[in-house]
Amino acid sequence: MHRTALTLAAALLLGSAHAQDKVTLTVAAFPSLDSAIKAIIPAWNKLHPNVTIKLQAQEFADHHNAMTTALATGQGLPDVMAIEIGYVSKFAEGRGLEDLNQAPYSAAQYKKLFTPFTIGQATSADKRFIAMPTDIGPGTFFYRKDILDKAGVNPASMTGSWEGFIAAGKTIKAKTGASLINTAASINNVIIRTNLKKGEGIYFDDKNNLLVGPDNARFVRAFTLSKQVRDAGLDAKIGEWSNEWYDAFKKGTVATQFSGAWLQGALQNWMAPDTKGLWRVQNLPEKGFASWGGSFYAIPSRAANKQWAWEFIKFMTLNQTSQITAFKDNGAFPALLTAQKDKAFSEAVPFLGGQKARILWRDAAARTQPIDVNRYDSVAEQIVQTELTNVLEQGKDVKQALADARAQIARRAR
């Protein structure tokens, strides 16, 4: 008996000693980040042949639901967890991820290497830094040059002011029949997230005060202008990520679109490849700069291989070659500033008619202000969207809708 136990213990010891030589690192991610990881793995393997990357890729929502459950129970956690921008603030407020400010990570030294606003997105209210940014989505304004030319509209007139944007929309509609935008709600989405005052988030400020309401000029303007667009019949009333949306891009029935820079890759690869050369980009109206997408990597506190996880994250986020590989693989805009200086960024983009759009996006990213995030953002967003639909579809009074939204959010944000 004793001998067996001893042999067993010896075998276990040997086994664990062995495991230090050969490590399997689990990385959980979602599309199209998984594609970037696959593209970078060969370079990693060359550097660390003993550390095998096991990629667990799930669909976007499934991935984040699975990570939420894993963090809640502490079970089934990967070593490296990819997090999309829409979830990063929620995950930051939770307790299950390593604070990268602390040793042995001491990530504070790396913060200045990234596009500044991303740091704030990955920082919790109590200043824990829970994830390293890997890509960003500079908000931008796509327009169909051919449609604007046909209508005789100067694109600069559309970005000076929202009033100019709507006036141009009327001309476009009259001269070409094309809609100004897919849905009037897009106007709201841009206005509420641009030109924020210092210390303001979209829905809450940094002192947890609720900003939504009939007295907030930003929301009143966002709702009012959205309604103007709807009332003037300028929007196509099409939701994003729908068949109608793709169809509108293919047929050119909608003249403009607000989105992240990444939309160019999607348009070019699958949404509307035939519209190559017809699109151009500008900054958002009224010198608005907004973050529109982005991804991060975090380490769960109960991960098995934190040391290697950190090495891997550094390799993905701080290594210029990795960042450029991801960019070339699926257009993931690097969060790393030095990667943004790569010569690929000053090249013309054929899909955008040879425009040097990446310089514009790089500049927009540098000018984007960090937005304060709140754990009740998703509650507020849902309620604001519902009230906006009431305004657009049922003619509900703007101030009343905002007062109702305020009351509902206040009840839920406890």
Partner: protein, 314 residues
């Protein structure tokens, strides 16, 4: 241990494998059910009841919850809470799909039973197909039918010089559009239920009625309907329970938020969103229990209506 060596008691036979096997076997054989029941039913039930009285963000990890008493329930029951909006939507979509389901399924089953006996198997199979078809496939197909610019429905309307109708975009229309899918999906299931109920009714009764000169309508009204009561009660109960928990169809058709104006947001979707999007497990659990109470109450009303007239059993 103590009684085994206790001198005051008669000595027990020593442990024997055969004896233990005989004693334990039944428990062992039934244990899979009890283990599964414990893990997947009893524990979640208890845990959700526990959570209903706590404020818990799952990302804070197990244990990091705060007792809040009845606050979650008060929040849900407060005037103008989304819980009420979602419950109203659920009941409305449930009525729009559920009532026609039975109004169509019952006569249809009767017609099949009376006049289409030879094709009964084939007809039932066809009617049953939607029930076993994947909900995602169904909603994609209906999404194409309802599509504003590209959809078949609007194409047909356009031929008549009408439309286009924004089936899934106008808040008032959403319950009808979603309800139609639910109706289509479950009407066959109810036909099968009623068919099996009809088959259980003895031919003698019908023959006797025929001898008495009863018309087909009279047979339906005075024989079929009363004798089908138990099956109707069963089918109604299933519809109530199923429709009150409606999730898949609206979730895929109008999206997580319930689509335009949240008109397609059902209670189950609202609970799901609260738990997994807003990460407010306590409020979500409290709403689950309130939804359970609502379903329970409706089932009781159903039970009461069917057991009136002295609870006459056929």
């Amino acid at each position: 241990m103590s009684d085994r060596f206790s001198p005051s008691r008669p000595a027990r036979p020593r442990w024997s494998y055969a004896r233990a096997q005989q004693r334990l076997a039944p428990y062992l054989f039934t244990s899979p059910f009890f283990i599964l029941f414990l893990v997947f039913s009893l524990f979640p039930l208890g845990f959700s009841l526990f959570l209903a009285f706590h404020l818990w963000n799952p990302l804070d990890g197990l244990g990091n919850w705060r007792f809040v008493g009845w606050e979650n329930f008060a929040l849900a029951l407060g005037a103008r809470d989304q819980f009420w909006v979602a419950l109203k939507n659920t009941v409305w979509i449930g009525l729009l799909s559920g009532v026609p389901q039975h109004l169509v399924a019952l006569p249809l089953a009767f017609v099949i039973h009376q006049f289409l006996r030879r094709w009964q198997t084939g007809v039932s199979t066809v009617l049953f197909l939607p029930y076993i078809t994947n909900a995602v496939a169904i909603t994609i197909v209906f999404g194409m039918l309802y599509s504003e610019n590209l959809g078949l429905l609007n194409y047909l309307l356009a031929q008549l010089g009408l439309g286009p109708v924004r089936w899934l975009a106008v808040p008032e229309l959403v319950p009808y559009s979603v309800g139609a899918v639910v109706f289509w999906r479950y009407v066959g299931w109810n036909v099968i239920l009623y068919l099996s109920g009809l088959q259980a009714i003895s031919e003698d009764v019908y023959e006797a009625a025929t001898v008495d000169g009863a018309s087909a309508w009279q047979k339906f009204w005075f024989i079929t309907l009363p004798l089908l009561r138990p099956m109707m009660f069963y089918a109604f109960t299933l519809t109530i329970v199923g429709n009150m928990q409606l999730f898949e169809e609206p979730f895929i058709m109008v999206g997580q938020g319930g689509g335009s104006g949240g008109a397609g947001l059902t209670s189950a979707m609202h609970i799901f969103n609260t738990a997994f999007r807003d990460l407010d497990m306590g409020y979500a659990s409290a709403m689950s229990w309130l939804l359970f109470l609502a379903i329970f109450a409706l089932s009781m009303v159903n039970n009461y209506l069917f057991s009136r007239d002295g609870g006459r059993e056929p």
